[in-house]
């Protein structure tokens, strides 16, 4: 992992970063800490995926998925880490890649592993991934509901909630006469979105 070290030394003074400090920094919203974490463990995961018949793009997808799970847990404050970050990330990415491989292949999959990080059962990765999957499903349903909503509701809601623009900006952008009109329109859109979202989200199989 010397490559990760060399690049991180140029971008951040936190060398070598103990896991606790890194987690604290990320929780505090430090983007450089996230960047450092990202660079630090990328070679390990990319090596693992490439070795198990994946491509560079696969490795990137899997790794970003894994980092996202980790990051969101950290931001929630719900992360209970019983091992190193490295082990946790490896366990999460390994599980993700295994799942993709099994869905691609008709036969059983056997992984080839160089890393020896001890037992991976107690990292909590499995549970976290299940929760993340549920979360993903919710997000996907929401995105689909937004797509079904049609214009201008979609842009209005995306502008307000996703991109966090102010009501004044949106009023100007969509050409409403005043902010109250825009607000009323927004609430009507929200009601429609609610119907779409809950209709799909509740009836979808768990």
């Amino acid at each position: 992992m010397s490559r990760g070290d060399s690049s991180s030394s140029s971008s951040t003074p936190l060398v070598p970063a103990p896991d606790e400090a890194l987690i604290a920094a990320i929780r505090g919203g430090d983007e450089r800490a996230l960047a450092q974490l990202y660079r630090l463990h990328w070679p390990m995961v990319s090596h693992f995926v490439l070795q198990n018949s994946g491509s560079d793009d696969d490795a990137q997808d899997v790794y970003q998925e894994g980092v996202m799970v980790f990051y969101e847990k950290v931001r929630d404050g719900s992360l209970e880490l019983s091992c190193q970050i490295k082990t946790y990330l490896y366990a999460v990415c390994r599980r993700l890649w295994l799942k993709r491989l099994t869905s691609k292949s008709r036969f059983g999959v056997r992984l080839q592993e160089d890393e020896d990080l001890g037992p991976l059962h107690h990292t909590g990765a499995e549970d976290d991934l299940l929760a993340a999957e549920e979360q993903d499903r919710r997000f996907t349903t929401m995105s689909e509901a937004l797509d079904h909503l049609g214009e201008p509701c979609r842009s209005l809601l995306e502008g307000f909630y996703l991109l966090e623009k102010s009501m004044q900006d949106l009023t100007a952008e969509f050409g409403y006469t005043n902010a109250d009109n825009a607000k009323n329109q927004k609430y009507k859109c929200l009601v429609r979105l609610k119907k779409l979202f809950f209709a799909h989200y509740k009836e979808a199989p768990i």
Binding site: E31, Q51, S53, Q64, L162, Y187, F198
Partner: protein, 395 residues
């Protein structure tokens, strides 16, 4: 009456903390008292929460993508710089597995994806090849069952003769129909072999396999005489058959010029045979090359005479005109290895038959009129006693 959108405006203001304190306490009281209202608020909360989370998730994804691109750009910028000062120096930090060429990647993907299929295909191919080879071999062995494998029995299939006879019966039919008579029976002569006289009074010898499955037998001499014959005795193990002419007007072959040798003939003796492998008599000569036959069978001699289908049942004579055997078959995968049943076995067979039926004695010839005469003279005397045996089978 408030619409749902109005409720949402209210919730929105409440969630932002923009509501005036009295309205706020009123709302909170209602949330505590009215479960339907509380549920409506929970839905609103989840909806806006999810919307915000989706926004955050998209931002994070974009951030990670940027990070990745940035990292790749940095490493690719670093690499040439790092390579330049120490060209050829070993770089242990770069994992060789990360530098796989595109072709190798494609090959690896293919192999990992189709490994099992390729394996199954290969084993099916191997099984098919060996299966068909073994099957072919088994089939050949099975189909060659009537004779021993590698051993060919020498009776002739009479396609040509058959054709001639059909033509003949057709022309007969035409003559008959002119007279209004019934159609002549169709002859279905199937095989032919050779036979020779055993006694002067109408017994003949031929090979068992010549008359095998026969319905009726026709004996044909060199001078186009025809006799009907019947099987008196057949010995499958030694490939011998004794026939008798049953025509009423038959009055004997005349004195036989040869005698039957009771003992064994010697190796290297000059021997010859006469037979009908075609419609004319054919002479063949050679030497006695072994005292056992195919597969070590001591009932047979091996002789080096070129023989062909139709030679079966022909007499095998030595230089002095002693009959020493009956031609039976040849080995198909060896050069000029023919086999003949020993005459001693023929004599033993005749003895046992004579004991069983004392009423019909066998008068074997006692004097040899061929001794001391040159080969062409011997053959001239012999040729009247060698016949074509034609075999007719039932449909």
């Amino acid at each position: 009456m408030q619409t749902e959108a109005d409720y949402y405006a209210l919730f929105d203001a409440y969630a932002r903390g923009e509501l005036a304190p009295p309205a706020r306490t009123g709302l909170e009281a209602r949330l505590g008292a009215d479960p339907d209202f509380a549920l409506r608020y929970a839905d609103f909360d989840e909806l806006t929460g999810t919307l915000r989370a989706v926004g955050q998730r998209r931002a994070l994804r974009q951030q990670l993508r940027d990070l990745h691109a940035e990292m790749l750009a940095e490493t690719s910028a670093q690499q040439p710089a790092a390579d330049a000062p120490a060209p050829g120096a070993l770089r242990a930090t770069v994992n060789p597995l990360l530098r796989i060429s595109r072709t190798e990647r494609v090959l690896r993907d293919f192999w990992s994806g189709h490994r099992a299929t390729v394996g199954v295909a290969a084993s099916v191919a191997v099984l098919a090849v060996f299966g068909s080879l073994l099957g072919l071999e088994a089939w050949r062995t099975f189909s060659a069952k009537p004779s021993t494998y590698g051993y060919t029995m020498l009776r002739l299939e009479l396609k040509q003769l058959q054709k001639n006879q059909r033509a003949l019966s057709r022309s007969l039919n035409q003559v008959d129909t002119g007279k209004g008579g019934a159609p002549a029976p169709v002859n279905n002569g199937k095989f032919s072999g050779t036979g020779f006289a055993l006694t002067a009074d109408g017994y003949l010898v031929t090979s068992y396999h010549v008359i095998q499955g026969a319905d009726s037998l026709l004996i044909e001499g060199r001078d186009q005489q025809h006799y009907h014959a019947e099987t008196v005795y057949a010995d499958r193990a030694h490939d011998l058959a004794i026939l008798r002419i049953k025509d009423r007007d038959f009055n004997g072959f005349g004195r036989l010029p040869y005698t039957f040798k009771a003992g064994q003939a010697d190796l290297g003796e000059r021997v010859y045979t006469l037979g009908y492998p075609r419609e004319d008599m054919v002479y063949g000569d050679g030497a006695l090359s072994a005292r056992s036959g195919f597969g070590g069978d001591t009932a047979f001699y091996q002789v080096s005479i070129p023989v062909n289908p139709g030679n079966s049942g022909g007499p095998l004579l030595d230089e002095h005109g002693n009959l020493i055997g009956v031609v039976s078959g040849r080995q198909s995968d060896a050069q000029s290895a023919a086999f003949a049943t020993k005459s001693s076995l023929l004599l033993r067979l005749v003895d046992s038959l004579a004991k069983k039926q004392p009423a019909a004695p066998y008068h074997l010839p006692h004097t040899n009129r061929l001794v001391g005469t040159p080969r062409p003279q011997q053959i001239k005397k012999l040729q009247d006693f060698v016949f074509v045996v034609k075999v007719f089978e039932k449909d």
